[in-house]
Symmetry: C2
Subunit: 231 residues, 2 copies
Amino acid sequence: MPVPFSRPSMLPEPTVARLPVYQRIAREMVRRGRERADSETLGRLAGVAPATVRRDLAGLGSLGTRGAGYDVSLLVERIEEALGHHQRYDVILIGVGNLGHALLNSTNFLISGAQLVGLYDVNPDVIGTEVAGLTVQDFAGELAPATMAVLCVPPDVAQEAADRLVEHDIHAILNFAPQVLSVPIGTAVRYVDFSIELQILAYHLTNGTGPLGGGLLHSLGITPPAPPRTA
Amino acid sequence: MPVPFSRPSMLPEPTVARLPVYQRIAREMVRRGRERADSETLGRLAGVAPATVRRDLAGLGSLGTRGAGYDVSLLVERIEEALGHHQRYDVILIGVGNLGHALLNSTNFLISGAQLVGLYDVNPDVIGTEVAGLTVQDFAGELAPATMAVLCVPPDVAQEAADRLVEHDIHAILNFAPQVLSVPIGTAVRYVDFSIELQILAYHLTNGTGPLGGGLLHSLGITPPAPPRTA
DNA sequence: GGATGTGAAGTAGTTCACAGCC
DNA sequence: GGCTGTGAACTACTTCACATCC
């Protein structure tokens, strides 16, 4: 009994992780006035085999033109759609410290479709200050209704904060605290953990194996394009 | 012709990505005075099936005791070893903005074995200030010899900075800029991209699929523990 | 001619299920 | 009795290779 019934698209997880990468590349090409790209070029820039690029993109419907490659602006559009950017996501951010600031300042942190609707902290020095066009509110007070939350609080209060978010009917949390969160089934949590990244890098450095060479990705568990049979 | 010859350990990539997670859990247990844990408990906390935990840990040699589970302090030790923490890594950080500060403040950003030996920036306001016990130097000047670099610069100067690092004989870069880096083969790059994380979360939110429920991980491409057959 | 889209083959990783040891 | 370690089965993803269409 694999896969129940009715799945609107159901892309393989690794594909989902690569789509944003293709999108960024395509967007950059559009910005530079380029109109088309083939799977080999995309693959080289993404750090992925051309065949993989083709299969990934074929999953979104036939976006390519045989003989001519992909129209990059179409690519941007269709990937946005596939990732769900046409929907509106109200996002709140908890913990406006250095990391919170860094995220808010990052030009492309907020995806299209995502709308920042609230900033929260518990530090009285921070509450009331204005960041990214919003006034920081007390996390102990009322929360704006939202779909997603970004957690940038210290690890020792992360669980507590998560509990509050779950109570507030938030079902998607992007957690930056290096802390295992316990949430009910039905709540999606995604972890970003800097120290883990560094550790993985250290492993590969020690063993001389792993994600070597250029290309974007190699990121989290994504397989590199096989032995670079470069000239 | 799979796997040449002579590989000191050669763990599967997903295993490498999970080891730091087990380690954090084990360390937390040690802190709480707990001595042993079985694969089921570890798996629940890590968001991974028990069999996977066992296979992962078996790859490090027989650390478990049949009938009694794993000794958590032994676990911490052996995982550190496997990840290469016994080696000394000299780390420099480029770009001491909000993100750089956030990383440096994070208690567990630097893994054991990693030694921060230099901070660099190009902003005159930042150069000369002291952060994390080090004085920020001009990135245009001399660089301390190092093994790894952490890149926290804006995307438009990331490639330029990477070129400098490569020239300086650095072979491992942890890149926080949302920018494709082109580096020679033999240089490991790992990307941390916040916007991609948010996009993946948005996808799962839209499609109702994916990494739901508790547990650490679900992170980058790591498969969740199969349909939660919870009561 | 040239590059996509895709069955078929190959590979990697996960999970089962149980023998083996405490 | 309980839980690890692991061959064997399974599942998922990647890559090949080529028919297909521009």
